[in-house]
Symmetry: C2
Subunit: 322 residues, 2 copies
Amino acid sequence: MENKTNGIIAKYVFGVDIGGTTVKIGLLDLDGHKIEVWEIPTRTENGGEKILPDIAESIRFKMEERGIKDSQVVGVGAGAPGPFSDDGTILKAVNLGWSEFNLKNELHDLVKIPVKCGNDANVAALGECWKGGGQGYKDILMVTLGTGVGGGIIHEGKIFNGANGAGGEIGHIHIEDNETVECNCGNKGCLEQYASATGAVLLMKRILEKSDEESVLRGTQFECKDIFDAAANGDKLAIEATKQYGDYLGKGLAMIASTINPEIIVFGGGVSKAGDVLFDLIRPSFEKYVFHGAKRTKFALAKLGNDAGIYGAAKLVLDTVS
Amino acid sequence: MENKTNGIIAKYVFGVDIGGTTVKIGLLDLDGHKIEVWEIPTRTENGGEKILPDIAESIRFKMEERGIKDSQVVGVGAGAPGPFSDDGTILKAVNLGWSEFNLKNELHDLVKIPVKCGNDANVAALGECWKGGGQGYKDILMVTLGTGVGGGIIHEGKIFNGANGAGGEIGHIHIEDNETVECNCGNKGCLEQYASATGAVLLMKRILEKSDEESVLRGTQFECKDIFDAAANGDKLAIEATKQYGDYLGKGLAMIASTINPEIIVFGGGVSKAGDVLFDLIRPSFEKYVFHGAKRTKFALAKLGNDAGIYGAAKLVLDTVS
């Protein structure tokens, strides 16, 4: 693939994934092959004022190092943790120290190359759709099962943002009427309270409290992975916890699939490392609750890991600039 | 607005709404002004084999009557009650006697004018987005509260179909874990079981059964409208039923809004005739359950009534053919 602008052939695109601790930057060719990936620290002090200058400097330095001219670069795509409006304004990004500003314009002023940006979860979903677990599909739901539950919707190959950039914020779908504990968002009974890694631990703790049965996890400090491991080894209470986990997640995904009817759901994040066993846990509840028209929804594991963001960011700029 | 094809100026578009009893056909100009609307019976006998020939004949007759040439017509848009695939194949339409076939191609062969078609609920949503309660917005959720609960999603001004045409089938989102009665779809606890006109009657009946209190509806054959009327007149149990109705609907819409984050939700169908009082019933529950990024979602009443389908069908063909 080539991209001709003013007779000069562009060859490169940068994908930037801005996280709370590090910024990951990728240099890719226009077919999405990684040429180089590196990281710089995210300097969040003073309202995160250094973050964009650091990124711009790192990109300009890399271009100089490799003798890449501006005209050879299609642009810079960037994903950041916050809701975005269509014009590239990030509305809030607590983790980065940022308050509302136009990320697209500011980064462009610094780096002097076309910039496109979006919410990191949506951008990662686009990456998985382009080069990962959703490759070959154009309507996907990406679910990230980590400390929280993130989501991104790709519709006809493009990010589905929604009116205020909150499209795909599926972690806060209401799923349980009988919850007494508040979610981080302030509501009670959100999907994230059960289907995140933290949620799995909560479910297990509640089971241990209610039951007198033995469990290898009783009296230990355990994490989500320990629960799945214990379940794999036949621990009855851990099996019950993973079953509940699958029931909640299946139910939540059924609601979403009934609404947007994706071709495939792609699972990423730490919990997805459990692999296909996760699908066996989710499928019964998903099929129980989903509208029949969406019953055939495929499940797949994400493939790009922490690189999804840079692929997606690169694709974002390729789709709009080229 | 004009549409030039081969130097001849097109002036007209037909919008067709295929229902189980009648087919409504509209002749519109390209700005969406109604020139004439008429109805023909839907002949569902023999697998509905006469439906498309009847429509084609009626359109050709109207063109002859008005001296409209083929070149003056942009095309014919049609909405029908069933899921569609992208190529215009209707997968099932029980009410019409149809099994799977390509509606777009068959109608085109008969009418000899470009044809575009889609699911009736989605097409009605497009109509309301173009000329009705969602005018001026491009990301809308249309909810039709009738015998059932229908839905249609418009994203960036276009119908959001989903992978199997089941996008926006929001009536079958799971909303209540404690339901014992089956929904028409075979699941239990679907939104439609509570938020439809039939659902409101069910809620009221259950309240009457549980309570000994007086109600003007006790011992009567009542419909949804009677419940809202009784509530407006201060009937305590009817007030409770409308409150429950609003709670369920608000909760369901919150889940959907958290997923797709529309700018506005447009309410149509018989129950929406209750008017703004409906919003007062829904809003508290919607705001309780919705993700904060979608809290600002606007509510509006549909404006086109039974004409939404013909407007939407006309717009469908204008968007794709012109």
